[in-house]
């Protein structure tokens, strides 16, 4: 899937080396979102990043995507430093980011069209992906006419149609209800299965993280840095609803929660302190 000749075929898909990101706040102060972050994602690996809310997980994704540059350190994609937004990156946002003034089909066509694919071909590819996410009969609808889950499917099709080798997902299903969420997780695994792309999936839901990922990375309370990494040895293919009931899942959950829970507590205490 990696086309550029510069990229090393044996290099990890994503590598962050000592990356930090400092933002200037509106009041003029400095806010460190990410500090000294080391993270490696192998090719074809599904990595879930969990951490307390607001700790800077999303910033990590914007660094990898090229939307933001690190203040310090290095971000490599396919062994090459990130400069701007690369064509191999796909990003699924937490909030609705489909274009409300475009129809479903036109939304999915947007990526290929932006990249200069001829209309007929873009339409064909878009229809193919719409069929895969089960929205073939909704191509003429506008996003506001769809349910939240359907809009998320449009977003997935919109991202997958570009054949990204790097897939970044920022709490993509957090706005959905529990049942839809499980369904979408299964669909994501199915869609991803055929692509061989590397995924970074940010979430605050540990269950979701374990059910989906090959590796779960626990972040510290902000400024975010990697606290611990846990390999997930549950067999694939997985079904999210059933894998949750397996004893091994519960074991892993307990193990990771002992690490994550502490960070959550720290964040909570800070919140209480600033509220007081």
């Amino acid at each position: 899937m990696i086309t550029s000749g510069k990229r090393h075929s044996d290099a990890p898909a994503i590598e962050l080396r000592g990356a930090s990101k400092v933002f200037r706040t509106p009041s003029g102060g400095l806010h460190t979102a990410v500090r000294d972050l080391d993270l490696t994602v192998e090719q074809g690996e599904f990595v879930a990043v969990v951490g307390p809310t607001g700790c800077g997980k999303s910033t990590t994704l914007t660094l990898v995507s090229g939307l933001e540059e690190p203040t310090e350190g290095e971000v490599l994609v396919g062994g090459v430093p990130v400069e701007g937004i690369g064509p191999e990156v796909g990003f699924v946002f937490q909030q609705d980011a489909v274009f409300p003034w475009r129809t479903v089909l036109s939304n999915v066509m947007a990526g290929p069209r932006f990249r200069g694919v001829p209309t007929a071909q873009a339409k064909e590819r878009a229809r193919e992906w719409l069929a895969r996410v089960g929205l073939a009969s909704f191509e003429d609808r506008y996003p506001h006419q769809l349910s939240g889950g359907m809009r998320k499917r449009v977003a997935l099709a919109q991202t997958f149609v570009n054949d990204p080798s790097i897939l970044l997902m920022d709490e993509p299903f957090s706005a959905l209800d529990v049942q839809t969420r499980a369904l979408m997780s299964d669909e994501l695994l199915e869609l991803w299965g055929g692509t061989g792309s590397s995924v970074v999936f940010v979430t605050h839901d540990l269950e979701e993280a374990i059910a989906l990922a090959d590796k779960v990375v626990v972040m510290t309370a902000g400024p975010a840095t990697v606290k611990q990494t846990f390999p997930i040895d549950l067999p694939r293919p997985r079904k999210v609803e059933s894998v949750r009931l397996e004893p091994r899942f519960v074991e892993i959950y307990r193990e990771i929660w002992s690490s994550l829970g502490e960070e959550v507590r720290i964040t909570r205490e800070r919140g209480a302190a600033s509220a007081a």
């Binding site: 939307l67 990003f91 946002f93 489909v98 003034w101 947007a110 932006f114």
Partner: protein, 355 residues
């Protein structure tokens, strides 16, 4: 988004009437009134239409695929009792609408009748205040026999032409500059203070200057219409370009859009609803610009009709010109609303529900 630069501060004037200058303030209130009125009618129409389509869809879904989508299947018109009730509800809504319309017409008749009676019984001075029957006579006389400056249609056409021309130029200028300044920070920083100063100027006083510059012909009226139209459109376009959902921009960039594509395919579409709000108001301004220009000095137009009637103490003539103007403005407004509906099919039915 902190409004650090001056242009942003200037833009906040469109929302914040308090720090605006006199004329701007007048614009604000007018704007508010107009949009409110427009939205009321629009809302009523839209909900009506939305309900119809929704019901149709529900019928489709219930009859067709039979997807178990809980809430949607709930209102099944197959049930006769329910069908009867929806029909009754529709009838009640229709009746209510009829009552509203009837009351509206009655109110108009009552006001006009009162005016007529007061004037005829000399309770108010008919010479100064005129009366509806005289105004009507004046309109028909103008329509049938022409005015002192030529046929009535020619006057209407002149005013419309000036207003429309000025409006188009002002809108294009406002949109282009608004989007450009909204997108290019450097431009906004450089031009911001100047635009703020120009906006602070009560622009209607420019009409006499334009008359000196461009003469009695249409050009001076077009110019005053342009300066009145430009600013509200500019500020709305500017604000619209800055308030674009950052997620949408980020998404477009990830999907492969460059700066030009982001502007054309994300910023402009999402700013259109802002721009359209200003189009409604600004057409009114264009008419004002044209009329005031004509009133100050012209060879043709409705404004001239007003000033000529005033010069001959013909109160009925002034009112008649006003009535004609109101009709023209309402027709233009209707056309705009129609165009807007075609353009905003992608929006949810309830206005304001989304933002």
């Amino acid at each position: 988004m902190p409004p650090e630069n001056a242009a942003a501060a200037a833009a906040s004037q469109t929302k914040d009437a308090e720090d605006a200058m006199d004329i701007h303030q007048a614009e604000q209130t007018k704007h508010a009134e107009q949009t409110e009125r427009a939205e009321q009618t629009k809302h009523a129409e839209q909900t009506k239409r939305a309900e119809q389509t929704k019901r149709a869809e529900q019928a489709n879904e219930a009859g067709g695929a039979g997807r178990g989508q809980g809430t949607k299947g709930a209102e099944r018109p197959a049930d006769p009792a329910r069908g009867g009730r929806t029909q009754a509800r529709a009838r009640a809504a229709r009746n209510r609408r009829l009552v509203v319309y009837a009351t509206r017409v009655l109110l108009l008749i009552a006001v006009l009748a009162l005016w007529e009676v007061l004037a005829r019984t000399k309770t108010i001075d008919p010479f100064n205040f005129s009366m509806p029957s005289k105004i009507w006579d004046q309109i028909t006389q103008w329509a049938l026999h022409g005015t002192a400056q030529g046929s009535l249609w020619e006057q209407i056409w002149y005013t419309l032409y000036e207003a429309l021309f000025g409006w188009i130029i002002g809108v294009i200028g406002g949109v282009v500059l608004g989007i450009a300044l909204g997108r290019v920070r450097f431009l906004a920083d450089v031009l911001g203070p100047y635009i703020k100063v120009l906006n602070a100027l009560p622009r209607i006083v420019l009409a006499p200057i334009f008359l000196i510059w461009f003469g009695l012909g249409p050009a001076s009226k077009v110019a005053s219409a342009v300066v009145l139209v430009f600013f509200p459109v500019f500020f709305n376009a500017f604000q619209g370009a800055r308030e674009v959902d950052r997620n949408l921009v980020a998404n477009a960039r990830i999907l492969g859009a460059g700066n030009r594509r982001v502007t054309l395919q994300v910023v402009i579409p999402s700013a259109t609803s802002w721009i359209f709000t200003s189009l409604h108001v600004s057409f009114g301004f264009a008419l004002i610009g044209a009329i005031v220009g004509e009133y100050i000095g012209a060879t043709k137009g409705l404004g001239l009709l007003v000033s000529a009637s005033q010069g001959t103490f013909n109160a009925a003539g002034v009112y008649a010109a006003m009535v004609i103007l109101a009709v023209v403005a309402l027709l233009a407004e209707g056309l705009l609303t129609f165009a807007e509906k075609r353009l905003f099919r992608w929006k949810p039915a309830e206005p304001g529900a989304d933002r």
